[in-house]
Symmetry: C2
Subunit: 411 residues, 2 copies
C-alpha cells in the first residue's frame, strides 16, 4: 500500500510518498512560498536526482497539483499512476478536545476543524485548505487527519486546567492542549524499545527541541503533562517564541510603549526566544559560533535555554515520581550537545548521570544513542524523531482496521 502524507503550513506544503509493504520511502519534498509569488517545489524520489520547479501557487490547490505532477514525472517521479496512492494522511495542528486519535476525514470532520479553527489561527486554516484541495484532486482515496494535539488528550485535568475563570474553559476552550504529539508518540515508542519495556510500563520525559520546542511527561506510555498550552507559545525558550513569562508583562509593555495587543502578541511569537535574547540569531548553530567567540548574549541565551529545560525535567520528575528515561529529539535535541549538557549537568542527586563524552559525540539524525553513563538510574537517549512515519503508520492502521491497537505499535 502506497501512502501519501501532506503537511500544509500557511506558506508551505511538505509531503512524502511511502510504500508500506516494502517499508520504503519513495519520494519526499516541499513546496515553498505557497500563496506568495515565486513558489517553488523541491522534490526527490528514492535513487533519483533532485527535481526543482518554480511555478506560482496562489492557493494550496496549485501546490498539491505541483506535487502530483512531480510524483508522476516520467524522469523524476516515484509512481506511474495516481491510483497507486491508496490513502492520504494530513497533518492537522489543532484537534481541540474532539479528537483523541487520528480519524478518517469526512465532511463532518472538516466541519469540526472549521469550528475550532480559531484555536490555531496560524495553522488550522491552512490545514483545512490543504485537506479540501487534496480531497478534490484525489477524490477516490480515503483521507485521514493526524493531529498534534490528539496524543495529549490523555492528560489529567489537573495538568490541563489553568487557574483562570472556569467559564473560559467551558465557553472558549481555554485549556492546555499540547503539541508535537506525533513526535512524542514516535520517540516514546522507540524509547520503550531501547529500554526493553512495554510502552505501558514506561515513564519518560521527552524534550522535543527544534525551532519550536516542547517537553512531555509520559506516564505508563501516555501523555501526562506538557509545556505547550492553549497554543504553541507557552513553555520552553524557542527560536522566536518566548515560552513562559509573567502574564503581566504584555500589559506592562503595552502601557509603556503604546504598542497594540496585536503588535505585542506578534513580538512574543516572532521576535522573542533565542532571537529576543541574542538580538541577532534564531538558529542555534549561529548562537553556538557566537558563544564560542565569547559573545555574552549568546552565552546567556544558551544558559537560559538549557536552564529552562532543566527546570522542566525536574518538574516532570516530581510529577511522575519514577522516570525510566529522558529523551532528546528534533534539531537541537539531536544535534545540540551544549544545550543538552547545560540541561542535564548537576542532576546526579535526581538519578541522572550524563556521560559528557557520549553526549559530545552524539550529533547525528541517523542514529539512536544513549548519552547517560552505564550506571545512571535514569537513562538519557537521543532519538531522531520521525513525524512522517507516525502519519503514515496511523493512516495505514486506519485503513487496515488496526488502529485500536495503536498504543501497541513499536516504531
Amino acid at each position: 500500500m502506497v501512502i501519501m502524507t501532506l503537511n500544509c503550513g500557511s506558506s508551505s506544503v511538505k509531503y512524502q510518498i511511502y510504500d508500506w509493504d516494502k517499508k520504503r520511502r519513495l519520494a519526499s519534498g516541499i513546496v515553498e512560498r505557497v500563496t506568495q509569488k515565486g513558489s517553488v517545489i523541491v522534490h526527490e524520489a528514492a535513487g533519483k536526482p533532485e527535481y526543482k520547479k518554480e511555478q506560482d501557487c496562489p492557493t494550496h490547490r496549485e501546490a498539491i497539483q505541483l506535487i502530483i505532477e512531480a510524483v508522476l514525472h516520467p524522469e523524476y517521479g516515484a509512481i506511474s499512476d495516481l491510483s497507486e496512492i491508496k490513502a492520504v494522511g494530513h497533518r492537522v495542528v489543532h484537534g481541540g478536545e474532539k479528537f483523541a486519535q487520528s480519524v478518517v476525514i469526512t465532511d463532518e470532520v472538516v466541519e469540526v476543524f472549521k469550528s475550532i479553527a480559531h484555536l490555531a489561527p496560524l495553522h488550522n486554516p491552512a490545514n483545512i485548505q490543504g485537506i479540501e484541495a487534496a480531497r478534490q484532486l484525489l477524490p477516490d482515496v480515503p483521507h485521514c487527519a493526524i493531529m498534534d494535539t490528539a496524543w495529549h488528550q490523555t492528560m489529567p485535568d489537573h495538568s490541563y486546567i489553568y487557574a483562570l475563570p472556569y467559564e473560559w474553559y467551558e465557553k472558549y476552550g481555554v485549556r492546555r492542549y499540547g503539541f508535537h504529539g506525533t513526535s512524542f508518540l514516535y520517540t516514546s515508542r522507540r524509547a520503550a524499545v531501547l529500554l526493553g519495556k512495554k510502552p505501558s510500563e514506561t515513564n519518560l520525559i521527552i524534550a522535543h527541541i527544534g525551532n519550536g520546542a516542547s517537553i512531555n511527561a509520559v506516564k505508563n506510555g501516555c501523555s501526562y503533562d506538557t509545556s505547550m498550552g492553549l497554543t504553541p507559545l507557552e513553555g520552553l525558550v524557542m527560536g522566536t517564541r518566548c515560552g513562559d513569562i509573567d502574564p503581566a508583562i504584555p500589559f506592562y509593555i503595552m502601557q509603556q510603549t503604546g504598542l497594540s495587543p496585536k503588535e505585542v502578541e506578534s513580538i512574543l511569537n516572532k521576535k522573542s526566544g533565542v532571537l529576543g535574547i541574542t538580538g541577532k540569531w534564531v538558529d542555534r548553530r549561529d548562537v553556538e559560533i557566537a558563544a564560542e567567540q565569547g559573545d555574552k548574549r549568546a552565552i546567556l541565551c544558551q544558559t537560559i535555554e538549557g536552564y529552562r529545560i532543566k527546570k522542566y525535567i525536574g518538574a516532570y520528575m516530581a510529577a511522575l515520581g519514577r522516570v525510566d528515561a529522558i529523551v532528546f529529539t528534533a534539531g537541537v535535541g539531536e544535534k545540540g550537545p551544549i544545550i543538552r549538557q547545560i540541561a542535564l549537568e548537576g542532576l546526579e542527586a535526581l538519578g541522572v548521570k550524563l556521560d559528557p563524552e557520549r553526549n559530545r559525540v552524539s550529533m547525528t539524525r541517523n542514529a539512536e544513542t544513549i548519552i547517560s553513563t552505564d550506571d545512571s538510574p535514569v537513562k538519557v537517549f537521543v532519538i531522531p524523531t520521525d513525524e512522517e512515519m507516525v502519519m503514515t503508520e496511523d493512516t495505514y492502521a486506519l485503513m487496515n482496521g488496526t488502529y485500536d491497537i495503536h498504543t501497541r505499535f513499536t516504531y
Copy 2:
C-alpha cells in the same frame, strides 16, 4: 531601642512597635479603608484590651496620625512619648534593580522609588505616600526602607532574564524581580538553625503559600530563583491570581470576548486562581470544606494547587542539584496539610519522604515543626513566617551599623 514598622498598602496601613532591647512586641494593629469612607483602626498593645476607632482617613497621613494617637493613648497605648521611637522601618514592595538590601531613606532614595513606581503601580505609590507622611509626622527619627525584591537581587541572570526582546530589559526593566523577600530571608535563616548549618551552606526550597504565593530556590543561603516575576502575578496558583499561563491566552480572550486589555489584566489578578477554578471561593478553608463535601471543582482546585507546587519543587531540585530542606510558610503553608500532602506525595525518588501523620497535625502558626520522616534525605519543615521581625531587625541593624553582616543574622 523602640522600633516602629509600617506597611502601607493601597487601602490599609499595618504597623508594629517593638522594643529591641527587651525583645518584646509592644503593640501592633491595622488601619483599614484608608483613602475610602469609614476608615477604622484596630490596635492592641501588649497586655491591654483591643482598641478600635472609626475616623475617615482620606490619605495615609491621617492613618499614620491615628496610629500615633493609639500608640500614645493613655489607656490603650504602648509608649508615653513619641521620642521613645528611635527608628521607623517601611515596607516597600518594589525596589527594582537599585536596591539589593535595606537602606536608610533619604530624599534621593524617595526619588528612586518614584522613578520605579510604574513597576508596581498597585503597591509603590501607597508605599511612597506612607513614607512621605511618616517622615513629616516623625521628622526627627531615621526611616528605613525594607524591600520585598531586595532578597532576590542575588539571582543569576539566567534566572531573571526572560526570552523576550533584550531591549525590554534594558529600557523598561522587564525581568524577574521576585517578591516575599522578607519572608524568605526569615524562614531561610530559621531553616539553617533547624538544620544546624550555616546559612551559607544551606540549599533550600521555600514555599510561601498565603493569599499570594511564591516559591524560592535558595542556594548557599542566597536567592537563586523564584516563581514571581516582573510582578506578583507569575508562578503558583494564588487566591485570585492565575500564576503561570500560556502568554497567548489574554490575546485569545480579548479577541473572543471583546474585553479590553485592562479588563483582562484585572481578571487575571482578581478573578482567577482559587476563585477562578472554584468559581466561588478565595479562602482555602472554604475550599477545604467544599472538597470534603465532594464538590468536584473544589477538589480539582486543591489538586491543581498542590500539583503546581510539586512541579516547582521538582524544578528547583533540578536547579539546585542538592537540597537540604523544603520549607512551607504563610497561611496555607503553615495551616494547610492537604495542599502540602498533594505537593509532597510521591517524591520519594527525589529524596523527600513525607510523614503523613506529622503533616496532618502541623496546623499552627506558633511552632516550627518537621513533617518529613526521620530518615528522609531532604527534610521538610513548617516554619511560621515573621516579616515584621525582618523589618525590625533590618532597621535595627542599619541604625547600629551592623547591616553588612546581615546574612549572618540568625532569627
